[in-house]
Amino acid sequence: MQIKESTEVYDVIIVGSGAGGGMATKQLADAGLNVAVVEAGPFFDPADPKTMTQLKWSYESPRRGAGTTRAFGEWDMAYGGWEIEGEPYTHEEGTKFDWFRSHMLGGRTNHWGRISLRFGPKDFKGKTRDGHGDDWPIGYEDVKPYYDKVDKLLGVFGTNEGLENDPDGFFLPPPKPRLHELFYIEGAKKTGIPVIPSRMSMLTKKINNDRGVCFYCGQCGRSCSVYADFSSGSCLIFPAQKSGGQVKIFVNSVVREITTNEEGKATGVSYISKDDRKEYKLKGKVVVLAASACSSARILLNSKSKQHPNGLGNSSDVVGKYLHDSTGSSRAGFIPGLMNRDVSYNEDGVGGMHVYSPWWGDNSKLDFPRGYHIEVWGGMGMPNYGFGWNPNEFNKFFNLPIGGYGDSLRDDVKKYYGSVIGFGGRGEGIARKENYCEIDPTTVDQFGIPVLKFNYKWSDLEKKQAKHMQATFEELIHNMGGTPLGDTPTKEQDYGLLAPGRIIHEVGTTRMGDDPKTSVTNKYQQLHDVDNVFIVDAGPFVSQADKNCTWTILALSWRASDYIIEQLKQQNI
C-alpha cells in the first residue's frame, strides 16, 4: 500500500481542535496563514439539530439519560470517555491513571465545566515558594496580556476581587446565587472560608453579534447551540473560517507521527483516515501539536527517525514525564433546611456553580504544600437515570422507615428533591518526573499506532490535601445544619482522593523550560530540538495550579501563536 501524500504545503498543520488547537487556528488563520486542522473525531457543530442534546428531555431517550455510551450521561457532549473501544492504554503494575479522551471537533471543550480561572503570580513560581517541583520560565506578567485578550474574545463572567493569587480580569457580570448557594455562602462564613462569584465562560451578556446570550438551561455540558458558552469549534474555529481565513479541517483523521527530513526538521504529519483506514501524509512548514497533553506526547514518542531516535523533541528524555492531574475529592451532604422545596420557579441557571471558594489557606502552616478550590453543586435539576434510587433514604435522619412502596414515595421524592449539596475539592498536585506516560511497545490501537502506558502514583502530599478537603467539607455541611452523606473516607481510601486522570486536567508531559536538558519546549512552546514544531495544549505546563487549566491553555496558545507568526515573518522557521 502506498501512503497518499498531499501536494499542497500548508503554512501550519494543527493537530487537535480543542482549546489549544482552536485558539492557534483562530490566531494563525486570522494572520493570513494557510492552516490545516487535523482532528481524530467527526465534525461537530453545537447548533446542528441532529447531534444536539441541549433541551432534550430525559424521556426522549429509552435509557433516560443513563451513561451507557457516555461517561457523564448520554446528554453529555463528549464523544469518547475513559475507555474507547479499539484505542486502549496500559498501566505499569500497581499504578493508576484514567485517561479521558473526546474525539470530535472542539474536543473536550464541548462538554467541559467552563470554570475559567487564571493562574496567579504564585502559581508560576512553585519551587521558589515552597521548594517543590519547578518554577516556570515565565511569570504571570508574561501571560496577563493574553488572559486579558482571552477574556474579551471569548467571554467569562466573574468579579474583580483584588485577590493576590486569583487575579482580576475583564469579566461579564455573574448570575445571582441559587438557594443552595446562599446556604453555602452562610455556611462558609461561619468557618471563615471566602466565597465569591464563580468565573465561568458563559455569556451572561452579549460580547459580539455572532454569539447568543445565555438562556439559563444549565446544560453547558451539552454544548450550547446558540454559542453562549465557550466551545472551541463554535467560538474559535468557525469564526476563523467565517472571517475568511484559510482553514481546512481534516476530520476522522488520527495522527500517527510527525514526519521529518534529513536535517531533522518537521515536514508534516502522517495520519490514518478512520473513513477508509488508509494512511495519508500532509505537508506543512510548521506543525503545532494540540492533541492533549498525553496524545501529543504519544505522537512525539512515536515520531522516531534516524535524526530523532528517542522520539521527536525527546533528546532530554523528558517527553511524557511530569504528567500530573488536579487532585480531586468530593463529598455530599443532606441539608434539612433545603427540604420541601418550592418548585414554582426554574433555577437551572448556568451549567454548574454560580459561586465558589478560591484557596484561602496558608500552606506554610499546613502539612501539604499546595491549595485547592471548592466547587459547589446542588439544586432542583432535571431528573435523569438514577433519580429514583433510594427515594426515601433520608428518612433515616428522622427515624422513619426506609423503603416501602405506595403513594408515600411520591411525597418522599418531593420532600427531599433539591435537599442535597455537594462539594468538589480541586487542588494542585506536585509535578514529578516519576509520574509519566511512555510508549507500550507490546500494544497498538486499531490503527496500528503504539499506545501509551501510564505510570502514576499520588504521594502523601496529595493524600494529606484530600484529608483536609474532607474535613473542610464536613465542617461546611455541619455549618449548614446538614449531615455528610456516607462515611468519612479513610487513610486506606486515600481520603477519597480520586485516581489520577479523573479530574481531566492532565498536564505537564512536554514541559517548558530554559534548559533543553530538563525540558521539552522553550518558553514559547517551541521544541528545543526542532524549531518548526510547537505544542499548544497543556503539555508544556510546568505545574498545574489549584485552577482549572483551560483558560491558561488558551492564553498560552495565543502567546505561542503570536511567536509563530513573528518567527515566520522573520523567516527564522
Binding site: 441541549q54 432534550k56 429509552p62 467571554g155 475583564f170 446562599l182 438562556f215 439559563y216 437551572d348 433510594n390
Partner: protein
C-alpha cells in the same frame, strides 16, 4: 415490529388495561427566549453508532408477555397512579425497565430471577401468580421484601430484597424521568428563561436573603443584550 412500541400493546391487551390511568394531561409552558433556540424532535443527539446500538436493543426481547404484565402490575403497586399525572404505565415504566435490562445486562439476573421468585412465593402462599393475586396478597408479599436493612450493603442481602430495591429504583426513576412524572414533580426547567435570582417568597420561606453588595455585582438582565465594554482596568462600562 419495534419491541418498544409492542410492549404497551402486550400489557394493555393482556388485561392490565385497568391499571392505566385515564384522562391524564400535561401542558407545556412557553417561556421567554424560546425563539433563540431551535430544537428538532426527530433527533435526540445520538451518534450513528449510538443509534445502531439502540436499534439493536429495541429488537431484542428480554421479558415474555407474562413477565411484562407482572412488571406492569408490580410497578403500579409500587407507585400507584394518581390524578392528574398518572402512574408507571403512562410513564412507560415497563418499556423503560425492559430497555435498561438489555442496556445494562448486569441487571438481568436480578430482574428475571426476582420475577420468578415473586410468582413462586405467591403460588406457595396463595396458589396464584403475582399478577392475578389480590392487592392485599400482593402487598403482603411485598411487605416482606420492601424494607431492607440500610446498614447492610444491598449486595449482601437476599435476592428478593435486591430485586425489590432495583424494581422500586427503576419504577421511581422511570416515572420521574417521564413527561407525566416531571409534571408531577413540578420541575420547571429545561427551557429558555432569564435567571434573575430566587423569588422573594422562597428566600423568606428558607430564612435566606441576598447580600445587597453581592447582588450589585450581578448581571443586570435588562442589559444582557448590550455588548460588553470595559475600561482599561476591567470595569464593565455597559
Amino acid at each position: 415490529m419495534d419491541r418498544r412500541k409492542s410492549i404497551q400493546t402486550i400489557i394493555l391487551g393482556a388485561g392490565a388495561a385497568g391499571l392505566a390511568f385515564h384522562g391524564c394531561k400535561t401542558e407545556g409552558d412557553s417561556k421567554v427566549g424560546e425563539e433563540m433556540v431551535q430544537t428538532d424532535e426527530k433527533y435526540f443527539g445520538r451518534t450513528p453508532e449510538e443509534l445502531e446500538l439502540i436499534q439493536k436493543l429495541n429488537e431484542e426481547e428480554l421479558f415474555n408477555a407474562h413477565e411484562l404484565e407482572t412488571i406492569a402490575v408490580l410497578s403500579t403497586v409500587i407507585l400507584p397512579p394518581k390524578e392528574p399525572h398518572g402512574g408507571p404505565l403512562e410513564a412507560n415504566v415497563p418499556e423503560f425497565i425492559e430497555f435498561m435490562g438489555k442496556d445494562i445486562p448486569e441487571l438481568q439476573t436480578t430482574l428475571l430471577g426476582g420475577l420468578m421468585w415473586l410468582d413462586h412465593k405467591c403460588n406457595t402462599e396463595y396458589g396464584t401468580e403475582f399478577k392475578t393475586a389480590t392487592l392485599e396478597q400482593q402487598k403482603a408479599i411485598l411487605d416482606t421484601i420492601a424494607f431492607h436493612d440500610p446498614e447492610v450493603p444491598l449486595e449482601e442481602q437476599a435476592l428478593e430484597l435486591q430485586f425489590f430495591s432495583l424494581m422500586r429504583g427503576l419504577t421511581v426513576t422511570g416515572y420521574y424521568t417521564s413527561k407525566v412524572g416531571i409534571a408531577d414533580l413540578g420541575y420547571k426547567g429545561n427551557m429558555p428563561n432569564v435567571w434573575d435570582g430566587v423569588p422573594e417568597a422562597v428566600l423568606e420561606k428558607h430564612g435566606m436573603a441576598y447580600d445587597p453588595e453581592w447582588v450589585a455585582k450581578c448581571v443586570d438582565q435588562s442589559k444582557r443584550g448590550v455588548i460588553a465594554e470595559w475600561d482599561e482596568n476591567g470595569n464593565l462600562l455597559t
